[in-house]
Every structure is written in C-alpha cells, then in structure tokens.
Amino acid sequence: MDFINAIILLLNYIFIPGLTYGSQLALGAIFVTLIYGILRFANFATGDMMSFGTMMTILFTWYFQSLGISLGVLPTALLAIPFGIFFMILYMLTIDKFVFKYYRTQKSPPVQFAMVSIGVMFVTQAVVRIIIGPGDRRFFDGEKFIIKAREFKEMTGLNEGLALKSTQVITIFVTIILVSLLFWFLNKTKTGKSMKAYSDNEDLALLSGIDPKKIVLVTWVIAGILATIGGALYGLDKSFKPFTYFNNMLPIFAAAIVGGIGNPFGAFLGGYVIAFSEILLTYAYKKFFIYVLPESMEPEGLVQLLSTDYKFAVSFSILVIVLLYRPSGIFKGKVL
C-alpha cells in the first residue's frame, strides 16, 4: 500500500506536471529550432512572439465569451486558437517582410540576425503591453479538474490524492497530435522534405529547384502555429503575463540546444529533459522516502537536492554542461 502511495505521490507532483511543462517547452523549442535550422538565426523574440499569439487567442476568447459561445466543459480558448494562429502568422510574415527579408537577401551573419531579432523583441513586447497591458490574466473557463484529489482518495482509499487538471490533459493531448502531424509533414510530404534539404544545404537545395520563398513562408506558418498553441497552452495551464513569457524564452532555448539545435525531434525531447530535470532536482523527496523506507530510516530534512529558487538555474546549468561536452546537443543537431 505504501508503495502505491509513493508512486501516486510521484505521479502527482513530478510526472504529470513535468509532462505538461515539458510539452509546453517542447512546442517552443521546436519553434526555435525550425527558425534556427531554416532561417539560420537564434530568435531572441521567441518568448514575445508566443505572448503575441496568446494575446490574440485571449482577445478572441473574450469576444466569443461576450457572444455567449462556449465549448461546454472545454475552455473557450480552444475555439479561439485558430484565429490567434491566423493573426500570429500575419504578424510574423509582416515582420519577415519588413525586417528579416532584407538581411536574408544581404546574407548577413547570424549575429546580425540575432541583433535584429532583439529589435523585434522590443517592438513585440511593446505591442503586447500596449494592447493588453502587463498584468496577469487568466482566461481559462470550463471544467477545471478531471479528477480531484479528494475524489481520488475516496475512490481508491489511498492516502495520497491524484489531481488531474483538464488543462494538463489538453496540453499533453494537443502536443501529441500537433507534434505527430509536424513530423509527418516534415518527413513524408514533398514540402517538408524540401525544407529539410534547404536546412541541410542551402545552395544544393536552390540548385535542385526548391523555391526559397515558399520554404520561408511555410516555416513562418509552422512557427506561427507552434508559437500560438504553445503559448496558449501555457497560458491556460498557468496564466498569461507578458513578462513570464519573455522569461520562458530561456528554458526554451536551453531545450532547443540540449536537444541539438536544428533538429526538431531533439528539441521535442529536449523540452522534456529540461522540464523533468528542473522538477526532479528541486522536488523535496521527504514524503516519498517516508512511504518507501522503513520507519527507522525516515529522513529528517526535506531531502531536496536544490531549493526551488534555483529552478531556472538548473536548466541553464544543464545547458552549459551540454554546450561544453557535447556542443551539438544530445541528439546531434548542427555542429557549432
């Protein structure tokens, strides 16, 4: 019995939150890695682009709510996401046309692109804050829990409860669908394959008749879908605040690089690597050991490797270690 309790404890506090957070990071990381692989720059505006997409989704959610449209038990935001994606893609293409295109035709070095993306970051941040303000916003509606901790306890007669939020299930579910669609697209369709070819060797791809304009367009479209859904899922699960989104850029970068930058599958796994290591290293295992160990060996302290304050620092340290020992990432991306 104690053993089952311990498993439920880990499921509730480590596995499910880790999976959710990891999915959110993974979507962002694939976004970063696609931009890096195909457009060849580190996009510092990642977090703010995600917050722009989320903002659009929130605005449409409010609009639908004011019209009285809802999805019943599901959050209305799911209905608003496609509209958010549309505006996100529009915004990205506008920025690409007026900002990035010039440097692409000039064949500027990646550093210059990174600098330009900082300019875009400032602008996007301003736009988001001017339109929706810097405050904390919750836009979740519908049923909050699928399983409540208390109900679970009553149902199974265990000491530990298992709470399952609907946002967590939605996040994991949507991520699985989206990522499988994306990999199908990249590996099986002609456009996806030509994107890969363009990422591997630009000149060769151009010689074999691949249209760079189309590649860039498709990349931004996919990026817009990923950014909006990733941002909206994070906002549904936690809350929407422009500053948090800007900060999330850092673990997302870490996930993309840990997974091997330019490699979408690596970025997908990298998201989970970062999320689980953050949670595993900062979780206090006291209760777990109380269940597992005999009474005489019960630990006195919290049995916490690092205090939760260092949550972000964990992912950054992992990144630094990976950069030092395996600069191409765990799952072989582009060599630096």
Partner: protein, 443 residues
C-alpha cells in the same frame, strides 16, 4: 545631447535632469565595457546584467559594516565551505593536469563536483540558518568590511573580471550566437544565486541605506555655508519677497531643493572622473599596437592566428577587461541609489538596453559608446512624456472619454519599448555602423 538635458532641467526640474545625467554617465560606462568586447574584438556578451549585479554586490560587501553576531553564529561554517570549494577546485585542477583525457577522468570530475556540492550543502546548512536568523528584519547576513564605498568600484571590477575569467574559459570557444545564449543564461544563474543566498546578500530583502561618498541632504540643510550659498544664488529671487517670514520660508524651500541638486552634482563629478579616465584609457588602447591586433583578430581570426597571435588568450583578456568595466558601472549604480535590490536586475534593462546603446552609438568607437549611452538612456526615460504628448496631439479632436484614447494614455509607459525597438531596427537597417561609426586612423 547636453542641450536636451539642459532643456529637461529648465522645463521639468534640475533634479530630474541631473538624475538622468548621472544614469547617462553610468550607462556610458556600461556601454564602453560592452563596446570593448563587441567593437574591438567582436565578442558578443549578453551577460551584462550578471556583471552589473556583481558590481553591486561588491558595493554592499565593501561598504556595509560587518555583522559581528552573524559572524559568530555561522562565520566558521561559511569559511569551512569556502575552504571546501578551494580544495575541490585544486583537486580538479590536479586531476586535469595529471591524467590524460579519458571517460574515467570526466566521470570522476563530475563525481567530485556533485559530491562536493552535496557536502557543502549539508555542512553549510546550519551556519546559513544561524546567520539568517540573526535579526532578519535588519541584518540576517554577514555584512561587509565597512570601508568607504568608493573602493567598491575597484572591487566590483575585480569581481566581474573574476566571473568573466570563469565564463570566458568555459564559453569563449562557442560560435557567436551560442556565446550570446550561453552568457545570457549564465548571467541568469548569477542573478539566481544573488537573489537566493540570503546569508551573503540578504537576497530579495534588499540592502538599504548604504554609505555615501557624497554628503547627506539632511546634513546639508543645516550647514551654514550651504544655506549662504543657496541664498547667494537666489538673491535676486529672494529680494523680491518683502515679507521676512515669507522670505525665510522661500529660502527653506530653496535649500531643500538645492541640497538634493548639490548631492546629485557631487555624484555627477565622481562619475565624470570615471568616464573620462576610462575614455582616455580605452582611446589609448584602441590606437595602440594591442588595439590594432584586436581588430586584426576580429576581422580575420585565422590570419591573426597564422601571424602568431594567441587568439584564445586575447579573447579571454578582452572579455575580462570589458566585463570589469561593466562591474565598475554596477558598483557606481548601487552607490548612486544607496540600495541594492537583487530583484530589480532584469535582462531587458541591464542586458538588452545596453546592447541597444552599443549598436545605436556605434560599435568600435568609444565616443559612439558614450553617445549611445546618453541618447538611449535619455529616450528611455523621456519616452513616456514624449509619447504622452504625441498621443494627446494626434487625438486632440477625440473627447477624453473615448475608450481608445484612455487606453493609449494608460499604456504610455510601454511606448519606450516600441521606441527602443524601432530605433534599433532603423539603425541596423540604414546605419549598421551606428551614429558614430568606427574610425581607424593609421598614423
């Protein structure tokens, strides 16, 4: 630029003008540090925030009086942990030197680091708790050395240089955009440590009331010579007032205003000295053989390497120098504010804004760096009033109750981001070398 600041002085107040001027000077120092790395050597450093915070930490550690009680409570444990860290580093160095590179070596080093961290965590825990329990509302940390705060400017440079040495050893081999990400993340780690190691920095509880290199306003207001000085300056204005009591009240008001202006002027003087010294040094360096070598390395690494220049060593050197200058600026900033708030170090303000200054001012040109610091900081502060004016101007026909107008006026503070972003984008596009481009004179 000076004219603009003078205009602020005349139209808003001298107090605001001087505080903008002081922060412009500090920004100029930071920009010079970043400019040395980027403009001279082409190294991208997005960790400016971390070095600034370390400089600030130096100001705290130098100027605050030591907390004897805390030292008695947990000083021994802390010193022991410090000693453990030193032993750990030495052992790792020894292993690195003695043994060939192999998997076993890598794993044993990793094992040493992990077990060392665990050991330190468990051995230092009681000491840290004891220190943080000492009067937590006021102290709860070890305190500093109780020296004049101006010394911290040098110590801040040393701290930042030390961190830059470690970071440089670790990260300088990376390609440019990876270096940017790595330094950005390392600076976040530094901030996390400063925020949460309360025994050293008081963390988010902040350290307030630091010593000052300038006199206090309250003291000035009761000093005779200062009151006479203010009286002399404003004799014209005061003589108009007939009533003696009224005149006294007006004088008191002027003295209070004058005292804060006077204190800010003292700071300006100190900061100006630093800026001028740094400007002379960096100009000398730029046109020295060393400066020429740095440019050669920046423009063609392989060629410089082939000419027998040690590229790795020079990169490390310039990384340390630039970071040290940023450290000075960090210490100056805390000196001016008189308080250390680890929570206020955010990458937007302390990393990206400084980079906007470098790019806008002109990379590789020290005067450009200073100009960039001044222009960008001025716009950063004055963006809100300017955009408020513009909004009112363009929406003059719309009634006050209009929802859009009210919303725009409410979000005036965020127009500064827009202004910065657009400024950066336009400069990058139409004047990629900055307002004052790099000028190489061959003498």
């Amino acid at each position: 630029m000076m004219v603009l600041i003078l205009l602020v002085g005349i139209f808003q107040s001298w107090n605001i003008a001087l505080s903008i001027f002081n922060l412009c000077l500090i920004s100029a120092v930071m920009t010079m540090g970043a400019n040395i790395q980027w403009g001279y050597a082409g190294l991208i450093n997005f960790g400016i925030m971390g070095y600034t915070a370390l400089g600030g930490l130096a100001a705290v550690l130098i100027s605050v009086d030591p907390v004897q009680e805390a030292w008695r409570a947990g000083g021994f444990d802390i010193l022991m942990s410090l000693w453990l860290i030193v032993v750990m580093v030495l052992v790792i160095r020894f292993i690195l030197k003695r043994f060939e590179k192999s998997k076993i070596r890598t794993y044993s080093i990793a094992a040493i680091i992990i077990s060392g961290i665990l050991l330190i965590r468990f051995s230092a825990e009681p000491g840290i708790e004891a220190i943080e329990a000492v009067d937590p509302a006021k102290t709860g940390f070890l305190g500093g050395f109780g020296l004049p705060i101006v010394f911290s400017w040098i110590v801040g440079a040393l701290f930042a240089g030390g961190l830059a040495f470690i970071v440089g050893k670790v990260a300088l081999g990376l390609r440019a955009d990876y270096l940017a990400i790595a330094t950005l993340l390392i600076s976040e780690i530094v901030i996390a440590i400063i925020k949460h190691e309360d025994w050293l920095t008081r963390g988010v509880k902040n350290v307030i009331g630091l010593k000052r290199p300038a006199p206090y306003e309250v003291d000035l207001q009761t000093t005779d010579w200062f009151i006479k000085l203010v009286e002399k300056f404003n004799s014209g204005k005061l003589s108009v007032i007939e009533n003696l009591a009224d005149r006294q009240a007006a004088l008191n008001q002027l003295v209070i205003e004058g005292s804060s202006v006077f204190v800010k002027l003292c700071y300006s003087g100190l900061f100006l000295v630093v800026v001028i010294i740094l400007l002379i040094l960096t100009q000398k360096a730029l046109y020295s053989p060393w400066g020429r070598m740095m440019r050669a390395i920046r423009d063609n690494e392989e060629a410089a390497n082939a000419m027998g220049k040690n590229v790795v060593k020079q990169h490390l050197l310039i990384f340390i120098l630039g970071s040290a200058i940023v450290g000075i600026a960090g210490a100056m900033l805390v000196t001016q504010d008189g308080l250390f708030t680890p929570g206020s170090y955010r990458p937007m303000r302390y990393t990206f804004l400084i980079w906007v200054m470098v790019i806008v001012g002109g990379s590789g040109n020290n005067f450009g760096a200073i100009l960039g610091g001044f222009v960008v900081w001025f716009l950063w502060i004055e963006a809100a009033p300017i955009s408020l004016f513009l909004i009112n101007f363009f929406t003059a026909g719309i009634p006050e109750t209009n929802a859009l107008k009210a919303h725009l006026i409410e979000s005036v503070p965020y127009f500064r981001f827009l202004l910065m972003g657009l400024g950066l984008l336009f400069i990058m596009r139409y004047r990629p070398k900055g307002i004052l481009p790099e000028k190489i004179e061959i003498k």
